[in-house]
Every structure is written in structure tokens, then in C-alpha cells.
Symmetry: C2
Subunit: 144 residues, 2 copies
């Protein structure tokens, strides 16, 4: 799906506590720095759907496990109508980059804290995002 990238990230083991990379200014998926924030999500809960018209998201999950679903309803897209699903966690530690104009929702899957860091390319601006209720985009959110 155009505009969706999954990047390998280094996790450096250390007896005092590990180091997990998140994003470098020299990475291909770096589209500028606007804001960084954490979002927590309890098991089974879903936040979304949200579509940004300007912001590129760079998402990593250093704690717990989160399911991300990207839905494409862009008019000119080859993959219009398609969904992509990703489960990110420290055990599958990758960075998910999502370009503007795609719909995103995410769900907590781990039993304790599920935490994402979003390094957004622009600061939060409610005027550049659109929301839909979770039921407005059909998707089976049942957890295995």
C-alpha cells in the first residue's frame, strides 16, 4: 500500500537495561519533526478512525502490543478499499510510517500497558484531521 512503510529498528541489549531505537533524522521515513507524544491503549479498546491530511505518523511500540489497521479510501489509489494490519510490540519491534490521507485505527492487545510513541511530522492541528466513529469503517476487531 503506497504511503505505508514498515522499517526495521535496532534493539541493543544491555545488562543494565536495553536501548530501542525509534527514529533518526537521516532515516528515509523522517518527514520532519512537529511533535512527539505517547498514547496508551487498554486491552481490547480501539482508538480511531482518524485520517490526517498533512501529518505523517511514525509509530513505535516500546511496551505492550498494539494492532494498527490502515484503511485506504484514497480516490486515485491502486489499493482503494484495502486494509493493512500490523501488530507491533517489543518482540516485533519495527517503525510503522503512515503517510497523510490514510485512515488509521489501533487497538490494545497486551494485558498491561500498551504504549505507542508517535513522532509526527507536524504539530497537532485539529483542522488537518478527520474522525470517523469506529463502526463507520467496517472491521473485525475481535482479539484471538
Amino acid at each position: 500500500m503506497e504511503g505505508v512503510f514498515l522499517s526495521e529498528l535496532r534493539q541493543i541489549s544491555h545488562s543494565k537495561g536495553d536501548i530501542f531505537h525509534a527514529l533518526k533524522a537521516t532515516d528515509e521515513s523522517y518527514m520532519g519533526f512537529g511533535e512527539a507524544y505517547f498514547s496508551f491503549i487498554w486491552k481490547g479498546e480501539v482508538k480511531g478512525w482518524k485520517r490526517h491530511t498533512e501529518m505523517t505518523l511514525n509509530l513505535v511500540v516500546p511496551q505492550g502490543k498494539i494492532r494498527f489497521v490502515v484503511f485506504d479510501d484514497r480516490e486515485q489509489s491502486q489499493t482503494k478499499g484495502e486494509y493493512k494490519e500490523f501488530f507491533l510490540s517489543p518482540d516485533n519491534y519495527k517503525r510503522l510510517t503512515v503517510a497523510p490521507d490514510l485512515w488509521v485505527a489501533f487497538q490494545g492487545c497486551g494485558p498491561r500497558e500498551n504504549m505507542l510513541l508517535n513522532i509526527a511530522s507536524i504539530p497537532h492541528d485539529p483542522k488537518e484531521s478527520v474522525n470517523r466513529e469506529i463502526n463507520e469503517v467496517p472491521y473485525d476487531w475481535s482479539l484471538l
Copy 2:
């Protein structure tokens, strides 16, 4: 101590999971984006001492509790020889900004995962940092 700033950060409560701010490009302590990474530290362990000659650190602790100690041995500094100590956690959720040329070490204080996010003003470059063994800078690291 010049070059050390503690900034208030918003924590937005939400029944599905909270949102914690970390850094905005419009914040006064934003000195450019070079790299973001997580560092974990087990209870009682200390990482440090490290002094950066170019990098400004922006440190937040979204999980656990971490003690940061900043030591000033800058030649021209009014506070040469002094230490500053900060305990950061979700319950004392602030951003610690540390300018170049100060020594920093940190210790895990919480029983489970203690995690910091550093949003560094330049990418990692071993040539711009200096290390000292933990005993080379005297400090009482005993936990209460």
C-alpha cells in the same frame, strides 16, 4: 543551573488510555531533531556518566521512575562543582532538557520497567560524547 530546564507537560486522561505529551517543535526546549530512542534501566542500576559536547537531551519518563543527576564541571560556570537531581515518572511527568557540556547519569528506581525517551538534537555520534566510570564522579546512589 544554566542549561538545565524542567518543563511542565500535559497528560490527557482518556478512558481508553491516556495521552502524554513529550515535545513540540514550537517548545522553547526544542533544539532540533537528530534522533529519538528509548533507554530502559533496571532498578538500582546506573547508566553514566556521559557528557555530550554538541547534543542537547530532552528526557521524558512515561513508564517507571528514573533518577537523573546532572553534574556541572564547566570551567566558566557559576555552578561549577554542583549537582542537580531530578526524579521523573508518570506521576511527576516533566521534560528534562540538558544542554551540552554537562555530565549526566541516571538510575532506575521503579520495581518494573523504567523507561526514558530521549529526543536528541543531533543523531548519535560517539565522537561528540565523553564517558566516565560511575565512580569517577562521586555521588551517593543509594536508593531510599
